[in-house]
Amino acid sequence: MDTAQGLIMKQSKTELLSAYRGMRTIRIFEDRMHVEFAGGGVPGFVHLYAGQEASAVGVCANLTDADILLNTHRAHGPAIARGADIFAVAKEIYCRGDGLCRGRGGSAHLHDVKSGLWGANSGVGSGVALGCGAALAARNNETGGIAVALVGDGGANQGVFLEAMNLASIWKLPVVIMVENNGYAEATAADYAIAGGDIHKRAAAFDMPGVVVDGHDYFAVYDAVLEAAERARAGHGPSLIEAKQRRYYGHFEGDAQSYRPKGEVEEYRKNRDCLKQFRQKVILDDLIATAELDAIDGEVGELIDRVYADAIAAPFPSEGEFMQYIYATDT
């Protein structure tokens, strides 16, 4: 039988392997990006997702083709998790002409209609309002889809976050608000900036369920999103999930991170890491053999080598294309 047991029986072995592959792909992609950036080959502001993989992958494992994911500026991980072409993702981060957004978006604005990935943006709370609109469109157009809006602990302090929660609730929109609380809004601690310390508790004020989960535990994220997504699909309205997690790198590449306690990242890498937790669980429960997981690691490593070689070799956009895509008639 191809079904996992006990705690994780909601997912087939194939789904679990896919989740592991997704998390490993993001990890190796981001670790490599860190190295390439330090080497000077990557332009602009780049925000890495390493450490937070269980969050995006746990969300996307619950989504269908009809669903819409609203991404944040920390965009690489969720884009890969949602199934955007990883070659095109890398080329976009390298600002190449055949990147995911033809070199007009870059690292922070990955967007892919084909895979239901919409509107990565740097107005950090904005995605929640956009997600309300996407949910309204899904409902009015009867697509059967829901919207999931990712937002960080920093974005959760923008007024638009609260306005959108209120709107989602009074209009009973099929939207899941996924707060990725990674402990730092840029260089400011979530514990300092968030009154009461808990974002999920705000949900009660807006008459929607609010839960907190360990964002490094794929299974915890998966279960919370499953419940929220089912509620949205059934027409019962929005939910909020706060997934507590840590990023392994700075707010952006080049961030010296002098605000972080010494040893914090090492501690998370050693004892809380999502890939380690996942491996322990599936190996202990006899669901997946170590060799199968190791084989995936090897395959992903080779894939990422090809992805980077391809991106670095790709052509830049040409001057002749400069004024394209500003208006609908600019082709």
Partner: protein, 337 residues
Amino acid sequence: MPIKSYRQAINETLFQEMRRDERIVIMGEDIAGGAGTPGIEDAWGGPLGVTAGLVGEFGRGRVLDTPISESGFIGAAAGAALTGLRPVAELMFVDFLGVCFDMIYNQAAKFRYMFGGTGGAPLVIRTTIGAGMRTGAQHSQSLYSIFTHVPGLKCVMPSSAYEAKGLLTQAIRDDDPVIFFEHKMLYDMSEDVPDESYTIPFGEANFAREGDDVTIVALSRMVHIAGQAAEALAKDGIECEIIDPRTTSPLDTDSIIESVEKTGRLVIVDEDTPRCSFATDVAALVADEAFGALKAPIKCVNAPHSPIPFAPELEDMYIPDAAKVEVAVRAALEASK
């Protein structure tokens, strides 16, 4: 042809377009009014009565009263536009667009570009401009220049009922985000408006009056102020050509240049404040592209660089009037004698 007011023309357009395309939803504060109250549905039909009756035909699923959450609902409108609806959002006064400016200039305006042409926001934001209603400094501005400045947006200022119907129909059918600026003081102005739908293309100016002596470029209500001045000047044998660009983005630069090449004199009438304004934009355009045709310095008639006063006597001084336009036209003629 039936006579309709500017307000009726806009209302009729919304009915006709919502019947034509089910993806159109309208949303805004009190756009129907009465939501959740024991009173009647459609209590207000919009703060200025422009959307009356729509909720009766199209229901609350397509006519959405919003809380006073401009970022929230303009953001939702942008997100809905990105993913399959064609929202027409109303934000009752342009003065309040600052509350949600991020959703307009960082989000809706940039989607198409940032996403490499793979997504866009067919969104209309209807709002009002204009002084004269004694509504004070935070309900009376004409802030179209701020939006004209932003690539990706289109900016539309109908000057009459006929123009309003054709331009709003075009705005709703357009695939880009459009800010549609309705002038409060024009709502009750009426003229012949066809019953059937029609569009007026963006970026094509209307020659509201033809003349050989001076070109006057004016927008929205200022087209009428310019018209009053032109009537008075015609009695002295001075013939003004009045160009209503209809849209500041895109801007019909060809028509402006063509007219100035004929008259050699340019007066711009703009209800907005003067610095970095529509008036200075057109003045710069002509100085750059038609300098050789000018027989006199370009004259701008703007509101002063001041907030809008509440005292009626002061507010009347604030708004460009026909007398100020006449002075500018005569000054242009005097300078070129």
